[in-house]
């Protein structure tokens, strides 16, 4: 305890060097903690993208492909699920609800998703939260559209804005469905999920847009249907890209999954979203682990910097050590004093780093939630954060033994007296 106070006073005497060392450690610790926090938040946000859905069903493909397409709206489907099959499964007695989705069109870089009213009723994210409208309501007319929060903000859309959808899923499309404009009737509240970046229309609207299309190209101008003509047609879709399934009982999901995967009339794939989300995260997790390793290396660099500065200072402090020896400090006291010094620097550095990290997160609290789709919650330091801080201090004590050993050896050879 006494040595700790001595070390503290000695550090105060070299305040500017000490502060530099402390800030190096603080910045590196803040980085490590920050990466750790963002990583947890990203993972949580990722796992919160979808909840309450027991199965996702699509045409046969890879399970991660199906997840990316249906939940993250990334990629394209090679085949559809036929409307007949969709009807058959959705009317199965064990099935509580289904949400059909139909992807394939874009609007200014945002995916267009055809669905029905069940989407707004049954879609759940973030541990059971349902979608809510910031403005307006669900689509009711054929040419109504509901946009996610990001779409509305980025494009400055409001209720009753007219928009045109584009054919295909390229970033820039040369074929617009300009002849069939849509009217925005609802804007969803932000969710921090891909829903925010989606334009929602009815399944019938998807059919209507393509009613005068044949084999992937639009009919010549004179054969095109006007919006009013298309309303008279039968707009029942031929199929859907995929659909979400909620079972009456969770345990039935496995039986249903097996049944769908073994369905004879059409090659289908049913996935358990939780399992596939974990698989996908493990894939992404490699990059994520690399980030942690890099930030841990920064902490190591910070501690080595501390060691260097203590080592460099030792020569000037030989007199200090000699005085201590002359008043009765034994070599092991000198050793402990130097280790205590490293410990104090690291303690101040980790406390400063934690403060810096939490301060920055508090400052940027709003920013990532809306922009990146990640929401970082401010929590009191968790067990893992505290483990990290303790590990940093322990590492500092270990590194601090190197200058301590040097000082120990110096005092043995210098004796009690230094003359200038």
């Amino acid at each position: 305890m006494w040595l700790l106070r001595l070390a503290f006073h000695s550090l105060l005497n070299r305040l500017s060097t000490a502060l530099l060392t402390v800030s190096t450690i603080a910045i590196s610790v803040a980085l490590l903690l920050g990466v750790h926090m963002v990583r947890n938040a990203a993972r949580e946000s990722f796992e919160n993208t979808l909840s309450g859905t027991d199965l996702i069903v699509g045409a046969r493909t890879g399970s991660i492909d199906l997840l990316l397409l249906s939940v993250f709206r990334i990629g394209n489907a090679d085949a559809n699920v036929s409307w007949k099959t969709y009807q058959k499964i959705s009317h199965h007695p064990d099935v509580a609800w289904t949400i059909p989705i139909s992807l394939g069109d874009m609007h200014r870089g945002f995916r267009v998703l055809g669905t029905n009213g069940d989407y707004f009723l049954h879609y759940r994210y973030n541990a059971g939260r349902s979608l809510t409208f910031a403005k307006g309501h669900a689509f009711s007319d054929l040419f109504d559209a509901v946009v996610g929060a990001d779409v509305a903000r980025a494009m400055h859309y409001d209720v009753s804005t007219q928009i045109t959808l584009s054919h295909g899923t390229g970033e820039v499309s040369f074929v617009d469905h300009a002849d069939k404009p849509f009217r925005i009737v609802g804007i969803l509240a932000p969710t921090g999920t891909p829903v925010d970046r989606t334009v929602h229309v009815s399944l019938e609207a998807i059919s209507a847009m393509h009613a005068d299309w044949q084999g992937g190209t639009q009919a010549p101008r004179k054969f095109r249907l006007t919006p009013d003509e298309v309303r008279t047609r039968d707009l029942t879709p031929d199929g859907v890209t995929a659909f979400f399934v909620g079972m009456r009982s969770k345990v039935m999901a496995f039986t249903m999954q097996r049944a769908i995967n073994a369905y004879r009339e059409e090659p289908l794939l049913a996935i358990l979203p939780g399992v596939t989300l974990t698989q996908l995260w493990n894939l992404v997790g490699v990059a994520d682990a690399a980030l942690v390793i890099v930030s841990a290396c920064v902490v190591v660099a910070g501690l080595l910097g501390m060691m260097t500065s203590i080592l460099a200072g030792l020569n000037e402090r030989r007199r200090e050590m000699a005085i201590l020896r002359a008043v009765g400090a034994r070599a092991h006291h000198v050793f402990s004093l130097l280790v205590a010094e490293s410990g104090l620097l690291a303690l101040a550095g980790t406390i400063g780093g934690a403060g810096l990290c939490y301060g920055l997160v508090a400052l940027m609290r709003k920013f990532p939630g809306e922009r990146l789709g990640i929401h970082i919650a401010i929590r009191p330091p968790g067990a893992q954060d505290i483990e990290i801080l303790i590990a940093v201090i322990a590492a500092a004590l270990l590194v601090g033994m190197i200058p301590a050993l040097r000082a120990y050896r110096n005092t043995l050879s210098d004796g009690l007296q230094l003359r200038t």
Binding site: H9, R325, V327, R330, L412, G415, L416
Partner: protein, 230 residues
């Protein structure tokens, strides 16, 4: 061993590795409470001799006994502890830790030596430190909490002396403690130091090249007279 001499050197020789023999002393004894003035020109091996007595250097041959204990028989760690418990040091200059207050500097030896702490008996460390600071002529009360670098050299040496004497070590070794002082301060310092040592019965080995000071001591020894190596 209460009546063993404070310091007893016999048949002592010392040489730096690869060098010629620097010191060769048949016998040098300091009785308990005796105050000895050791003189010698610079470079005559005075500091080396103090290193040997302090146990920092090991002699080539011969024996060094402090208070009846042979330093050469003790393992290095025990030598350090023995020195901290029984010897107070004052050097020519730079005796104090600049980042501690006067009081904290004076009390430093008590932190490292239980023996010296216990010798305070009933007195609290602060009281004893304060008493010594006063006894050595630093009467000003606010001097105690002042940072060391604000003191004059003379004041610093008095603080160093108070620190060497706290907890009543049996032996005080002073290596040119007055060489940085002017003549007046030198006389004062020496008088107060001697009074305090007499009070606590501390033996003094006072090393200086300034023979004018020697009449204040019980005995005067010239190093070049007892050292057969030169």
């Amino acid at each position: 061993m209460a009546d063993a001499p404070a310091i007893e050197l016999s048949q002592l020789t010392f040489a730096w590795p690869g060098g010629r023999v620097l010191l060769s002393i048949d016998r040098l004894v300091l009785a308990r409470g005796e105050r000895v003035f050791l003189s010698g020109p610079s470079g005559s091996g005075k500091s080396t001799l103090l290193g040997l007595i302090g146990g920092v250097l090991r002699p080539h041959s011969g024996s060094v006994r402090l208070l009846g204990t042979s330093l050469l028989a003790l393992p290095p760690g025990r030598v350090d502890r023995f020195r901290g418990d029984h010897i107070g040091f004052v050097f020519q200059s730079f005796n104090l830790l600049p980042y501690l207050s006067v009081m904290a500097n004076v009390m430093l030896p008590l932190q490292f030596s239980t023996v010296r702490r216990e010798r305070l008996a009933q007195a609290r460390p602060e009281e004893e430190a304060s008493r010594l600071i006063h006894a050595l002529g630093l009467a000003d009360r606010d001097i105690q909490e002042r940072p060391v670098h604000q003191l004059s050299i003379g004041q610093q040496q008095r603080v160093a002396a108070a620190r060497a004497l706290i907890g009543q070590p049996e032996v005080l070794i002073a290596d040119e403690p007055t060489s940085s002082l002017d003549a007046d301060a030198r006389g004062d310092f020496l008088r107060l130091l001697m009074t305090e040592c007499a009070r606590s019965g501390t033996s003094v080995l006072f090393v200086s090249h300034d023979c004018a000071l020697s009449d204040r001591f019980d005995r005067s020894v010239a190093l070049h007279e007892i050292n057969r190596a030169t």
